[in-house]
Amino acid sequence: MPDEKDALMSLIPVERDEHSAPFFDAAAEGTLLLRYSPSSGEWSEPAAVVCSVTQARDLQWRPAAGTGELVSWTVKPGRRGPDGVRGPDQVIGLVELTEGPWLTLRLVDAEGLKLRAGLPVRVEFVRPEGGEPLPVGRVHD
């Protein structure tokens, strides 16, 4: 897991539920799971309930490569804390995974990078205190 203090500070902890238990178990091992439809051979995002291409209801968890490319992004300026010090900016990316689904990911160590659509992104995981491990993206310029 990357030593990414800024991301840890501002990522919001997420609890697991029944559907997401396999996702977070795999995340703890550093593996990204997506939803896969055997009948269509297509992949869908983790929250999908039916196949994002054929609407088939046969989705199952399957490991993904954890690679993709940047589609778009935003930068939220860091907020000033009670001490008047401005927190780090938050860079949030829309990432198209190699398998096709899009994930919204906090981009770590992205400040100062000249971001552009199409840059390769690798999925890593960080674990905010009190929550499950969360996927984040690292951009390779």
Partner: protein, 389 residues
Amino acid sequence: MSGGRTAVIAGLGLTEFGRIYGRTPADFAVEAIARAAEDAGLALGDIDGLLVNPGVGGDIDLRLQSTLQMRNTRLLATIQGFGSSAGQMVQYASMAIAAGMADVVACVYADAPLKEGKGAGASYAGQRRAMRGVGALPAAAGLKAAPERYAIAARRHMETYGTTSEQFGAVAVAARQWASMNPRAQMREPITLADHQASRMIADPLRLLDCCLVSNGGVAVILTTAERAAGLRRPPVHIWGWGQAHPGYVNRRGSEFGLVTGAARSGAEALKMAGIGVGDIDMCQIYDCFTYTTLVTLEDYGFCAKGEGGAFVASGAIAPGGSLPVNTGGGELSSFYMWGMTPLSEAVIQARGEGGDRQVPAHDLIMVSGNGGVLDFHSTLILSPHPRT
């Protein structure tokens, strides 16, 4: 619509807008409906249909019927299509009137998200939801409020078509120019492109002056048959065409999110129903929650080619004196934010020729957009002071 019971807009009611405290959304809704009825020359007791669109607070609902002491309600529903609701309500009211379900239908939006002592940002900070499961991942990553979600759409448009922040700024400057002529507008001080560029970043690439206002208040329109409206107080506004399109962006490769919105299909449907082309439209009232939304909607409606919205708005086309007046009351950016009632109310005012200093001389055909969610929901209306020939 043709046939014996063609619906028209016969009344418009607007409350005060902005930091108006101490009044509930129901208070605003009642005032807006009462004003719309008075505007039309109807009594509250004439209303036999009511469509209610609650804002983010969700504070107004079917109980509004009892609040208004309505006794003969034949049509009553809450409509929730977010920013597309106003257009939707006019469509459903028109069909109900045409079908004989009701004779006088009031459509109302009211909300009071602004609280005393709290900033506007806090009122639309995103829904509080349990951070459980994989559905919470985008919010956990920091994607919560509308500005950052629209920012990702806007950035994709910039990356794909070369659209610039200065072009977004041209939309903000034009809206303020129009607002300076609208006594109801909350923001009437002129701004320059430099002001836009110097305004603080909310969610890159969107700056403060790319974002709409937040307002407390209410707006209502009243529809009835053309026959009945002929004897009423105000000139009727005729409904030539409408459409809805809810693109349902699939979160995967090939999605047009940020590039093409529901306006593309919804607008084409409305033009087809009206039997006209986009070149026949005299002016547009666009749902402008952000400057980017105006730009992309104009592209999707076909006023310029896809990807050329930036150059189109920067040319001055949409500003006072331009070839396509857009958001002639200042829009949600500069006048007031009443969801789809902002563009709808300005269209009614312009169609009637009651725009005062900002009245556009050519106002025969007006295209009105409603956009909800993050470009997820779209409705279009085409309005005119003339009956459809």
